[in-house]
């Protein structure tokens, strides 16, 4: 168990190190950051002063080490837009994003598990096909199209729901659904496949032979065993998909979260905020992935023994 955990931690650390390095390389590839980000209205003397202040005249290797030192001591600089520490800017946007994420995952699980089980049990009838069409639609419709169509229908046409903000529970409806579309598609497919694998096992036949009721066979013996796979998918795939989805959905509904902040920072070229935001989201996704792997190993002895 311990060697397996160590491997997971090392893997997460290497991934994070790579992300930090990629953000460094990306900023340096795009040219001198002073020219890119401060640009106009700067005298030649001021420019030289800034270059030597930020040590941009030193070697790339030196700059990289200085950058790593800053990252390790939590120094990510100030926002170009409002001059506040980027850590503060990101921190105050975590909770709104977290709320939306939790709501979307809750909705996704509530919809996908029953749909996936139905699709597996009735895979040869129209019910199974209908469920797979729903899952398929979730993949094919981009979240911004789903959001736009909902806004058009429920806000402008029917006048039922508010478009921007996160004040009341009504504000949650459309962003949550827009976020969940692709998540439902992914999780329904995985649930169906996991259920099909489990339902083909010998112990399911044994359970039926014992005379158990079919609902009990499917839910207890079937879903009970499939749930390990399903939970790992929620942790491994859904976290990444949700992070990508929040970028789009939050900026459409002016949701004051990390996703909207990233898009604004990208458009305004507020590079310290963008850099730290990407690192923060990556840390969150990698951490969720690692915790999922650990939980998976704890739940299933076959995994930790096989891989250790």
């Amino acid at each position: 168990m311990i060697p397996y955990l160590l491997r997971l931690v090392v893997k997460a650390a290497v991934t994070l190190f790579a992300i930090v390095t990629v953000t460094f390389v990306a900023t340096r590839l795009s040219g001198n950051p002073i020219d890119t980000f401060l640009g106009e209205g700067l005298t030649e003397e001021g420019r030289q002063a800034l270059i030597s202040y930020f040590e941009l005249d030193r070697s790339l290797w030196h700059q990289y080490l200085a950058y790593l030192r800053g990252v390790l001591s939590g120094e990510f600089g100030l926002s170009f837009v409002d001059r506040r520490p980027v850590t503060t800017v990101v921190a105050e946007r975590l909770w709104p994003s977290g709320q939306l994420l939790l709501a979307s995952v809750a909705l996704t699980v509530a919809v996908s598990l029953p749909l996936g089980v139905l699709a597996a049990v009735y895979r040869r009838s129209w019910i199974g096909s209908a469920v797979m069409v729903v899952a398929f639609t979730g993949y094919a419709v981009p979240s911004f199209v789903l959001a736009i169509v909902m806004v058009l229908t429920f806000s402008y046409w029917l006048n039922w729901l508010p478009v921007v903000g996160n004040g009341t529970w009504a504000h949650f409806i459309m962003p949550t659904i827009a976020m969940s579309g692709v998540l439902v598609a992914a999780l329904t497919r995985f649930t169906r496949n996991a259920m099909l694998d489990v339902l083909g096992q010998d112990f399911i036949r044994t359970a039926r032979a014992k005379g158990l009721r079919e609902t009990r066979v499917v839910l207890k013996h079937g879903l009970g065993n499939a749930s390990i796979t399903v939970i790992s998918v929620i942790g491994l795939q859904i976290a990444g998909l949700a992070a990508a989805g929040s970028v789009v959905v939050e900026s459409i509904f002016s949701w004051p979260g990390v996703g909207q902040m990233l898009v604004n920072a990208a458009i305004l070229r507020d590079y310290p905020v963008l850099q730290f935001g990407v690192i923060a989201v990556a840390v969150a996704v990698v951490a969720i992935n690692m915790l999922t792997d650990i939980a998976y190993a704890l739940a299933d002895p076959r995994i930790r023994l096989a891989r250790a």
């Binding site: 094919a140 911004f144 459409i252 989201v281």
Partner: protein
């Protein structure tokens, strides 16, 4: 009339029925694919209007069949009086071209890295597979945001971003297939018969790779269409005045209460495109994968 061979007979019957022909939805998707590609290729011939031509006298005109319809502008006009249909068709053209370029770049990068990882074991394989794991772990939309913000949203940068969006899937497939094939007896036989590495790769490895790669290419195409239109929608992809389906939806958002046709036409085209490509991709996968057919 039960016999011992029944299960096998049933199996054979099922496999010969499924996956051979296409069902009605798949046939519709094929027709749509031809129509969409045709519309993209011949966009300048299909509409008399220039997608960039402004006409301030006929701004925000609705599509055919509504009041204030401006004759000739079948899908209406936008806030600058530009023809929505012409912009949508040219946007489709650009979106498809970008998606194709991105998918080809991903195929080349991922295919080569997968080939190296599959043929050369040891540290090269470890490094490549670590890169694959990393690409899977990081939400790619964030990387795209970072790169586009830093390097500016030119078409070159956009193609580069779309190209590296999905390379890891190709790498995984090629590595897996190469390792599987390397263990086959016929490869041993070819080597014994004196076949060189290039001949073996061309004659024995490549033909086995074609069908999984075609499937992955099709599925990647639809992912890249969604990524491109999402980035353009956010204002970080294709830059105005050049029309792309995503940027038309993004820019038309401000006029949604009064002129919903500006966003609905390109949005419908995006959905039509992703549906078509995904149905074809699924169909190709079912045909290629015998194990899936059994389900």
């Amino acid at each position: 009339m039960a016999s011992l061979a029944d299960p096998i007979l049933r199996l054979r019957r099922r496999t010969s029925h499924k996956g051979q022909g296409a069902d009605i939805i798949q046939k519709i998707a094929m027709v749509l694919a031809v129509l969409l590609v045709g519309a993209a290729l011949f966009a300048p011939l299909l509409t008399p209007f220039d997608p960039l031509q402004q006409s301030l006298l006929s701004r925000l005109r609705p599509p055919m069949g509504f009041d204030r319809y401006a004759p000739g502008h079948f899908a209406g006009t936008d806030e600058l009086g530009r023809d929505v249909l012409a912009r949508s068709l040219h946007g489709l053209r650009l979106t498809l071209a970008l998606a194709f370029a991105g998918a080809v770049i991903g195929l080349v990068i991922g295919g080569l890295l997968g080939l190296i990882a599959g043929l050369r074991r040891g540290w090269a394989e470890d490094v490549i597979m670590a890169l694959v794991d990393m690409q899977i772990a990081i939400p790619f939309t964030l990387v795209a945001l970072l790169v586009l913000a830093l390097m500016g949203s030119s078409l070159t940068v956009l193609i580069f971003v779309l190209g590296i969006a999905g390379w890891e899937q190709y790498a995984r497939i090629v590595r897996g297939e190469v390792r599987r094939i390397a263990a086959q007896p016929y490869l041993e036989a070819a080597k014994t018969a004196g076949a060189g590495p290039v001949y073996t790769a061309w004659r024995h490895v490549l033909p086995n790779l074609v069908s999984p790669l075609v499937v992955q290419f099709t599925l990647a195409l639809s992912n890249i269409v969604i990524l491109e239109s999402t980035l353009s929608f956010l204002g970080l992809g294709v830059q105005p005045p050049q029309p792309s389906l995503g940027s038309m939806v993004g820019l038309g958002r401000d006029y949604m209460p009064t002129a919903p046709w500006i966003v609905l036409t390109p949005a419908a085209l995006i959905v039509l495109l992703t549906f078509t490509v995904q149905i074809l991709g699924d169909w190709l996968r079912d045909r290629a994968d015998v194990r899936l057919r059994e389900r």
